[in-house]
Symmetry: C2
Subunit: 287 residues, 2 copies
Amino acid sequence: MTIQFKKVAILGVGLLGGSLGLNILQKKMAKEVVGFGRQAANLKLAKKKGLITHIAKTPEEAILGADLILLAAPVKSIAIYLKQIAALASKGTLVMDVGSTKSYIVKQAAELTKKKIVFVGAHPMAGLEKSGAAAAVETLYEGSRCLICFLPQTPAAIKKKVTIFWKQMGSQVIEVSAVKHDRLLGFTSHLPQMVSYALMSVVGDFVTGGDIKKFSGNGFKDMTRLAGSPGSMWLDICETNRENLILALNELRSKIDWMSHLLKANKWRELGDFFNQVSVQKVKVSK
Amino acid sequence: MTIQFKKVAILGVGLLGGSLGLNILQKKMAKEVVGFGRQAANLKLAKKKGLITHIAKTPEEAILGADLILLAAPVKSIAIYLKQIAALASKGTLVMDVGSTKSYIVKQAAELTKKKIVFVGAHPMAGLEKSGAAAAVETLYEGSRCLICFLPQTPAAIKKKVTIFWKQMGSQVIEVSAVKHDRLLGFTSHLPQMVSYALMSVVGDFVTGGDIKKFSGNGFKDMTRLAGSPGSMWLDICETNRENLILALNELRSKIDWMSHLLKANKWRELGDFFNQVSVQKVKVSK
């Protein structure tokens, strides 16, 4: 079973949005995919690469008449688009975002539900540290998981449609509430990002760029890869998942304090036990 | 120019030591490579894989008559071997370790110099989270850097010999003092390792194993890869680079505190500026 759309609007044609457009067109799920975004050069490239068929000059132009609207901008920009969609989209239009926090977006989407526009929050776990239409590829979602926040009132037919949509992208749907999503991802995604920024910054404060290149290996490279991600996207995530992130950072700080204490007190047996216990934990979740 | 040895002893035939043995034999740098280690099964496998030609029953058996001794055990075990080498090795024997901290080892090796045994501290940056003879491969050192701590009294001929040895392994030699090595690596290697342990532990405290599998992506995987490393090796590193690591952890803690403060105080502009600045730093050192 494939699903068809008359007109798809993609607001934010970057890595995630562009890769969706490319899949939709390649898999013939729609003939018309209209893209809107802030950067003209990026949109031009998106059209050239076949990620979209048309460039919209305004969000309104993209939204009007679309039966599927995909929001693939940073979280706070999605909130702005949602206001325009509430004002302009037709009843029954399916609206999905691909933002990294969900409670804030679901709240902002309440207006859509009142107007019988169907909103579903999605978080495809398929990011890279690359960005923009230039990085979009058809295989981005292949083998990935997509976290979906259906609303209590989401009809079964929509659930099915959304599940098929993501399956066609190559993604396995996992249902989760927005609240649980933000709590869990605060630990498994947003905290690692903050840690990567903090680590890169500390090393940058104490070691020159030249020495970092000479005296670091794959461990450092992996641990600071995320620090190369665009700051604006992460700022929106911080702002919209603030409480969970404050909690997670506080816990990390306690753990660091505790490790420091063991080092200062020469408590080697306790530190060794801790390393071994964490190592076992890691191996377990890697299976 | 190739260099030849009569008898090579490898004390600790794991990933690093085993890969050295394999290279030495494959490149015909020696006909006899004698291995010693604590685990009989590991040594048997090493011989079967062609990493060594003989298994020694005791360190003494390996050390006696060797003109090259390679120490590839955890740092504190290296110190124990150094004592035996000081007592047993012949004048002029070249002894190299591959441990991750250098000041402690260089200090422990002082006795060798008195006995005209030549010691050079090496730290090949070619680790993996895998370990044991089973993981040893000929290509381990290809394209890697090897940090070398020559002593003030190291003769030029030995410097040349050691440089050629590592070049034959596929590794580029970078000279550095033991003190500078430990200070820099405290930030670029040992701190990332501690951070990876701390992160995995915090996430493990708050998220079930099943949920980690469902609700985490590549970022989490990369940031916790190091946490899968053997704890005993890292305990030795902590113990022998304690002061630098305490300093580095303290700086990380300050950075985490500062980020928490910005989040709590809703200082979004400052947080965004910080992300962007770190992101630029990361991109610079990745070039």
